[in-house]
């Protein structure tokens, strides 16, 4: 800054008071207030200079051109200052989303299946035509069975025999959820997926019977073993551990991906009615949504999305509106109402009607929970949002930011509501309040976030 103003000095009759010699070495980090203070001082000084300069200019008209150039330089300085202020302001860290969904793993159960020896499959190995070729060592037949599974033959064998025996079904199911052998884990997941899809399109000619189907409790037990904190749901949402960006924690085993995929095709199968109640499917939906909040599972977003989608579509038409409401309510009451709720809403990202409805409902319920209002009274919620005075120093702008995002999601995906026009009007008023109520130089944390969010929403709602 000093260099920029430097050239001016020689033109003044009396030397300008320069800013005091550089302050002694500071011990603590420069705080926001210090910087602000410096900048304000600097600006004051610049203003003074400007005034002086004006006087100076009146006296020396001849130097006009030179001065003009310098004025440009000065205004550049001011701009720079302003930018810096912004930057300081912008450095306010947005909290990270993420909660610790998985705690410590329990010991994965040992996989022993003595009953496999008696399966009909094993009888096949004795077939007189092929047994001389096989030279099977019967001590190792479980290894051989594993080979059949891993290389994709088991499915064809099952199809040939037309029946999946209970021992095979439980064996593959347990391999899928508890084995640490990636190959077997994936192969059994594919096996189950294929079995379900065969059953779904089966005709009279191609029939496959299955002696055992996993229940909700089996899935739940697996999740428990992985360390999923079901008490996440019983805790008050304030006590949930937020995860910082780089902590080291134990998470779920690799099997979690099979679990997620399995939930997807399990609930879509035609046996779904028998194996899970509507209540249980709702429960699963809430679990899947909460998995989106675990940072360790970020890489599994694609399969999580697929499972979410199939769960949504497994509800019957007549039960959907009710279920949607239940799920939204339980999500909002169980998961924390902070930055995480934005993540929750955004992760329900399907393009179909049900995803949109759920997204809107979840956003509404979160919003109602934050504002401590009833979700049924839409106008009331918006009014109390509008009533938040953003100019007030004590106004929690971070909360305002979250509310704005939630309200946006709720309103733009809302397909069910009746008095749309009235809500829209209230919404626009609220946005105007925020975008005009906060000046561009507002230095409070999150002020710029709220402001730009509001003006973005305002513009896009105007262009619609």
């Amino acid at each position: 800054m000093a260099e920029a103003c430097g050239p001016l000095d020689f033109e003044f009759e009396e030397p300008i008071q320069f800013s005091p010699p550089p302050p002694k070495r500071r011990k603590k980090l420069i705080g926001l207030d210090d910087l602000l203070h410096d900048i304000q001082k600097e600006q004051k000084r610049l203003d003074e200079k400007k005034i002086k300069q004006k006087k100076f200019r009146q006296a020396f008209d001849a130097y006009d051109d030179v001065v003009d150039a310098e004025e440009a330089l000065l205004s550049e300085c001011v701009d720079k200052c302003e930018k810096e202020i912004h930057q300081i302001n912008g450095d306010e860290q947005m909290t990270y989303w993420g909660i610790q969904v998985f705690g410590d793993q329990e010991k994965l159960p040992l996989l022993e299946h003595p009953e496999l020896k008696s399966t009909g499959l094993m009888q096949l190995f004795m077939d007189k035509k092929i047994s001389p070729l096989l030279e099977l060592n019967f001590e190792k037949d479980e290894d051989f069975l594993e080979g059949l599974l891993a290389d994709g033959w088991l499915l064809h064998l099952m199809r040939a025999s037309g029946c999946v025996e209970e021992s095979i079904a439980t064996w593959t199911f347990n391999l899928m959820l508890y084995s640490s052998n990636m190959r077997l884990m994936q192969a059994s997941c594919d096996f189950w997926s294929a079995i379900f899809s065969i059953r779904d399109k089966q005709s009279d000619t191609c029939n496959i019977k299955i002696d055992w189907l996993p229940r909700y409790s089996d899935l739940k037990r697996a999740l428990q073993t992985y360390g999923f904190s079901f008490d996440l749901f019983s805790k008050a949402s304030a006590n949930i551990v937020m995860v910082s960006a780089d902590s080291v924690i134990a998470g779920p085993p690799q099997n979690i991906q099979c679990w997620i995929k399995f939930v997807g095709f399990w609930c879509q199968s035609r046996d779904a009615d028998i194996i899970a109640s509507t209540q249980e499917v709702q429960e699963l939906l809430v679990i899947i949504i909460s998995l989106f909040l675990d940072r360790q599972l970020v890489g599994l977003a694609v399969i999580l999305q697929e499972s979410l989608h199939s769960l949504l579509n497994s509800f019957k038409e007549e039960e959907w509106p009710n279920c949607c409401d239940n799920v939204a309510k339980s999500v909002a009451s169980r998961l924390p109402c902070n930055i995480n709720c934005l993540r929750v809403v955004e992760s329900i990202g399907g393009v179909d009607e049900r995803s949109k409805q759920l997204r809107s409902a979840v956003a509404l319920h979160f919003l109602a929970a934050i504002l401590k209002k009833k979700a049924s009274n839409a106008a009331m919620i918006l009014r109390s949002l509008t009533a938040m005075n953003v100019k007030d120093k004590n106004c929690d702008l971070f909360q305002m930011y979250i509310c704005l995002s939630l309200a946006e999601n709720w309103i733009s995906f809302n397909t069910l509501s009746k008095d749309k026009a009235a809500i829209h009007e209230l919404w626009v008023t609220c946005l105007r309040n925020c975008s005009s109520g906060i000046s561009i130089t507002d230095l409070r944390s999150y002020a710029s976030n709220v402001r730009s969010k509001a003006s973005y929403l305002l513009q896009s709602s105007a262009s619609k």
């Binding site: 099977l136 994709g152 025999s161 990636m182 065969i198 924690i249 990202g349």
Partner: protein, 500 residues
Amino acid sequence: MKRRTRIGGDGGTQGFEENTLALLDTSGFNASKVSHHLDDDRLAFLEAVRTTSLITDKGNAPTRKMLEAIFHILIDADSLDLVIQSYKLLVELDKRFPQLYLSEGEQSDSSSPKVSTFIMVEEAWSPFTFTMDGHDKKWDATNHSRSLVDSSGFHTLIKEIADVSVEMKSEAVDIGFMKKMLLLQYLVTVLEGDFWPRNSTYEGRISLFHCDGFNETMVDAYVLAENLDWTILRESLLSMLLGSRKITYKGLIKSSLSAMGNLSQSTVSSEEDSCSDKPQGEELHEVDRVIALALPEVEKSTCNVLKKFIIMIMELDSSKRTADQHGLTTRADGVRTPAVEIILDELINDGDVLSSFLKVFDPKWRLEIIVQYFQKYITKNSVRTRSSASAINTENFDGLLKYLSNSKRTKSIIKKITTEAIQLLLAYGFQAYVMLLHNESEGFSDMMEDVKSNSAVAVCEDLISAFTCLRREDPNTGILCCGKQALITAAATISNLRSI
């Protein structure tokens, strides 16, 4: 081919573009210092595009600039979340706003129900940039951006994936590898979206030519149309990619094969590594854990995508063959060795590639390649008459099994191919046969008649006798695991079918 402009007026979208891109505008910020900020802005941008283009009912397609910005995030970002979100968004946008699509419901002419024309969206953005020897100058003019992929970039990408996946230790995997795999997946999705509508239009026209071609007046009309039709395929992104002089076509196929093989095996090895590592370093750092959790799934889908890529090339080859037969190709098309030939060479030379290829490849083409593999070694009779009972048609799988169920012939063939290779080929060929029998893979009805022509029981019995011959002629080599698996399946199928 029709061309269409997707967006009516410019005024509306202009504001939409500016408004959304403004979310990304961080020019005043020092990117290195506030990287989490940049990430937040990018996420907000992706979410905004998602919301406005996909979730809203009458969403507009994002503009070229916006698509480019998303693509840039995929290439540039360091956070897995961003990489996956941008990948997902690109794929979804490609599905919702395809660059090319078949027109439906415009078939006013009832006599030609098969002809479908595709519609090309003129201003559509594409992540590829290549010129086919100055063929289409427009590409150059409009796609000059630094981040787009050209043919050599595409090849390098596949090579890098192949290299990383072979020397991979579970801990050495970084986000860059994930990014490359996702990028490849997206690029192949784009190639597919461009190729299949063109190919089905082409095939539709050709088959129409065969049905109606004898009507004199129609021939004239269609000769013209047909000339156009091969151009449809010649102008496909895939054909331009393969025809590019910047890459060696053979090398591309070889890299794809080895990448496919390595990926299908690496999940196994990486898992073994992590198992042995567990006692010492049970708690991986979170970033590593995140990637380790995501990796198997991404590897699997990348392997699938490579499979699709190779299949697409083979389909292009066969379309080209029909075009050649109709005299539709010109010198401009160049000469290319069919992909099947190159693949066969690789399979014959490299046993590792053979087994991994047979395990993962699509049943229809797997069977085809296995049959051709044997063709190379079967001494052909001077004149084969189909009617005579003694001659066996070895051009399909059951014929092949019959041919090999004979000690004399088996003896001669194991001089040329190792017993292990024969077992692999037969076992996985049989698996493909069973898969096709149950119509597991969709859409390949032409093959089905061939498969079903002989009864399944006969095929199973032939398989058993082929293996019996093999065992008799080469008693030193035991039956491989895959052979045993195939035999058991055959036995089960026989006993089941007999019992009905």
